[in-house]
């Protein structure tokens, strides 16, 4: 009986530590440039506020400064890995945004509509689909099912 409890405690600790281990062992390709548009510590806490503010400015007034635009975030932070592949948001290990959102259990819907990769990467994917005779909108990626699964898990918890 005692053994079982110890094993249980060990198992639970392991499960709790898994995301941390996953985050530490992940290989997110390095961003472009040396410095983010704001201090890294501040960005970790407030990045969504700047994006939220800018989205209304852009949509309604056509203000398109790049400093706090989501497009600019993506173009710097999402770069090709060693194999030349740009990670999709569904890649929880290599996509810069996804890795942290996964770790902190945040479910966002920005990337249901917004591009999760720079334009050149999207165009590259499209060319590949067209060569393979597939249709871009009908190719199944795990992103959507992952998001549904995540929300189900969150509800269950």
């Amino acid at each position: 009986m005692k053994m079982t409890t110890t094993v249980r405690v060990l198992l639970v600790s392991l499960i709790l530590l898994l995301p941390l281990a996953a985050a530490e062992s992940s290989k997110i390709p390095p961003p472009k440039g040396d410095q983010c548009v704001e201090e890294t510590e501040w960005m970790r806490v407030h990045h969504f506020e700047t994006i939220l503010h800018q989205r209304d400015e852009t949509v309604k007034k056509g203000i398109r400064t790049t400093k706090h635009s989501l497009k600019n975030c993506i173009s710097c932070h999402i770069t090709a890995n060693d194999a030349g592949v740009y990670a999709r948001y569904s890649d929880k290990e290599q996509h810069f945004c996804a890795s942290c959102h996964e770790y902190t259990a945040v479910t966002i819907d920005c990337f249901h509509c917004h591009s999760d990769r720079p334009e050149e990467a999207v165009r590259e994917s499209i060319e590949k689909y067209q060569k393979d005779g597939q249709h871009p909108h009908h190719v199944t990626h795990s992103s959507t099912s992952d998001l549904i699964l995540n929300s189900k898990l969150l509800t269950a918890q």
């Binding site: 007034k61 056509g62 790049t66 509509c113 917004h114 591009s115 499209i126 689909y129 249709h135 871009p136």
Partner: protein, 260 residues
């Protein structure tokens, strides 16, 4: 098909909603004939050419489009293809619900058998019915006359689609992948031609469809500032006129058709 296209030269001539009509007469009264041709033109051209990225758009510009129906050929889809590519629409021929931001129409006069073909997209009305009916304010008209959907507040009720006399809007029924950075779009939102706002805000001063039509040699689409009397579109409208589709509704569309 024929009944949605109204020949309305007489209506146009008298319509108070004709682009800039009242403004021009007002300016004429104030600054006189000599100032009319130079001063407003120069001022407006500068505004249209280079808007700093941190400045909001203003109503000094009103973007519009003139389609020369006689120059548009039936077998050409350059404008539609360019729009699909610019905004990442990637149409699927098998799908019944794919978005169309621009499409080619063919109208035939049943009496004479005369056919005309031309592109139809959001007409960017001065008084847009889609904006009137939107319950959340997601449908809106930008200061420079472009009618847009704010997809952050669109709830997908499709009221605007019912209100639009041009059937210009589409609803996204399925999950999308591989959207382009400048054209975010997704399931549950209504969307339509946005006059390539990202290009205009970057100072390009033209749209993908107009560029493609020029490149293809048809030169059927003229894009420009309706408020600037010196712009090519204003000059062409002055010389050749430009009919509105369903002019009887008095919406003062930003898209006009020459030879319809």
């Amino acid at each position: 098909m024929k009944n949605i296209v109204t020949k309305a030269y007489s209506l146009l001539k008298k319509s108070p909603a004709e682009p800039d009509h009242s403004k021009r007469s007002f300016m004429g009264g104030v600054v006189g004939a000599a100032g009319l041709t130079i001063a407003p033109g120069v001022m407006l051209y500068q505004t249209a050419a280079a808007k700093p990225a941190d400045q909001p758009v203003t109503d000094e510009v009103r973007w519009g489009m003139l389609v020369n129906v006689d120059a548009c050929t039936e077998d050409c889809t350059a404008c539609v293809d360019a729009c699909n590519d610019e905004h990442g629409l990637w149409p699927d021929p098998e799908s019944m619900t794919d978005s169309q931001w621009i499409r080619k129409l063919k109208v035939t006069d049943t009496q004479t058998g005369n056919s005309k073909t031309f592109p139809v997209m959001c007409q960017h009305c001065e008084h847009p019915p889609c904006v009137d009916v939107c319950p959340t304010g997601a449908s809106f008209k930008r200061a420079d006359g472009i009618v847009l959907v704010n997809m952050h507040t669109c709830i997908g009720c499709r009221y605007c689609m019912m209100a639009c006399p041009y059937k210009a809007r589409s609803f996204v029924h399925e999950d999308l992948h591989d959207q382009l950075p400048d054209s975010p779009r997704g399931k549950g939102c209504v969307e339509s031609c946005n006059m390539c706002v990202h290009k205009l805000d970057a100072g390009e001063g033209t749209t993908a469809c107009a560029q493609a039509c020029q490149k293809d040699g048809h030169q059927a689409i003229t894009f420009g500032d309706l408020n600037d009397p010196q712009s090519e579109i204003s000059q062409r409208l002055k010389s050749y006129g430009g009919a509105q589709i369903r002019a009887d509704l008095g919406l003062n569309t930003g898209v006009r058709y020459q030879g319809l």
